[in-house]
Amino acid sequence: MDWTLFFVATTFALYIGIAIWARAGSTDDFYVAGHDVHPTVNGMATAADWMSAASFLSMAGLIAFLGYGGSVYLMGWTGGYVLLAVLLAPFLREFGKFTVPDFVGDRYYSTFARVIAVVCALFVSFTYIAGQMKGVGVAFSGFLGVPFELGIIIGMVIVFFYAVLGGMKGVTYTQVAQYCVLIFAYTVPAIFMSMIITGNPIPQLGFIGNAAGEDISMLQKLNTVVTDLGFQEYTQTNKSMFDVFAITGALMFGTAGLPHVIIRFFTVPSAKAARFSAGWALVFIAILYTTAPAVGAFARMNFIDTVNDATYITDEQNYEQTAAAIEADGGKPVPTWYKTWERTGLLEFEDKNGDGIMQYRGPNSPDGIENEVNPNRDIFVLANPQIAQLPAWVIGLVVAGGLAAALSTAAGLLMVISSAVSHDLCRRTLFKDMDDKTELRVARGAAAGAVVAAGLLGIYSSQLGFVAQVVAFAFGLAAASLFPIIFLGIFWKRMNKEGAIVAMLFGLVSTFAYIVYFKFGGGTPDQYLFGVSPEGIGFVFMWVSGALGIVTALVTDAPPQDVQDLVEDIRVPGTRQPHGMADAGMAPAPAE
């Protein structure tokens, strides 16, 4: 407990120190960190921005339960960076402004289009941020004995410090620190787990190697072990191929369309730097994302090894004496880590047949015994250090890592929310003659307001389903409403205002309606369109919305010459010139 407090306090002090050092002096600093972040540094910041509490805590556990089915997250949340690098990031950097709605508003010469983009950006960001704040609250309440609400408030104060003071500049450098904390906390226990299960210290190699001391591959052994208990083979899934395809697609294209990821690429000095930055971001992400499937498989194997058919020891019994007695009888006592984590409610044992033995079984249980053990998927990353018998301080590190993952993502989202309000709604739509100083004040105010709103959302969304439910929203909406019009805005000069508005509105409304109907409106899987679950529907509607946008653009007038010239400029680095009224005072200086 003391180690946890030590790591959390030290890392928080570090973040505040960085915030004071990196204060923002202008809107340029505040929105885009002055456009002069080094590509590798930005890559690292992007990785922290991107990897949320869900990536850090839940993903490995999710893969442990889903096996092959978990691949959608691995491919989806990394493949999106290829799309970003080759289709969006360098061109948006060359466009050179502050926000995603900025691009939409200028490229489609329409205030209405800008406002819809603001709505999309706000909606996506708020659904996402609620989960982060909740993660912070859970970490505090679970490990430091602080009440859930107070935990969220502490998190809010920290984010407030660096996001409101430092803007994008403060956020960038704290995210770099947060990346280092979270990747260290993730890989250290993984290496030890890999040693225990496979005898190989590198998890990515252990994953494809043999089980420790045996002549059978780890995955093959795992397949046998899980099918013997009535689960599906680890390397298979029961989802239809098209559904897997669609979910992967929605996550990939959604990643590329997420505003808090895109704005990170506005902070580097040039298109070239934006490309490299995307590459570095994916390197830093891949370190965690190629470790996660290994952790998932090891954790599943270890869980079955140590927990299944173990004799339960109640809290009233003396653990050491009872365990020794069970072992003397040739039995297997419930492991100590299980007893520790049982208190958090993340593990449940219900002795249905009253034999005192913990039977862990799948839906096709071969011996007819009902499953009695229900682990929460977050348990695997949290309990790994103890399972691997690492010293207590490693647990403290994992908690600090989880908080770093949640806070860094929350900060990136806050920047999207505050800039959408201060820049796109106030400066570019409502009060066009606002000066830079006032805008900076409004931006700080908006960031402060967003912190409070996010915290409240975190506190009061406990009644709603957890992150997994709303993540479908964020990615589906980003894929169906934002990705097509940004992509077409760069690659098709003829795309116009009417087409963009139709495409965005269709993507927004259709995806929203589909997800609400199936997640909250009582829709059943047999009603799925083409058998696609709500998580994947954004991918299907993305194509429809793009097609509708193209057809609409073709039957309406071509965009003004100025806009077409702008598109030609952003395609060729170093040739960006101001175009038209809206661009006149706002065009960025060409890169030096």
């Binding site: 994953f207 897997v244 190629t290 680095p573």
Partner: protein
């Protein structure tokens, strides 16, 4: 527009689009094709102790994605030199 006059912007853009399409073909091949559509076929082969299709879905595609982006950086820098564009 002064700078653009001595740049073959059309040629540069056409080359960029060609490069982008070929990279996206590989991107599709390692993830959607190898990891999903033809997984069952690839699973009869193995890399180490992992079925190949499964490995592509959980590991291989990610390595290739990283390589693709850095190749893109390198190839674009070459294109920019060729066309005299200042990246």
């Amino acid at each position: 527009m002064s700078e653009k006059e001595h740049i073959d912007a059309k040629g540069y853009w056409a080359a960029t689009v060609r490069l982008t399409l070929s990279l996206l073909a590989i991107w599709f091949a390692v993830s959607y094709a190898a990891g999903i559509l033809f997984r069952d076929f690839l699973d009869q082969f193995a890399i180490g102790g992992a079925p190949l299709g499964f490995w592509f879905a959980q590991q291989g595609s990610i390595y290739v994605f990283v390589a693709l982006i850095f190749y893109y950086c390198w190839a674009m820098a070459r294109l920019e030199r060729k066309f005299g564009v200042e990246g």
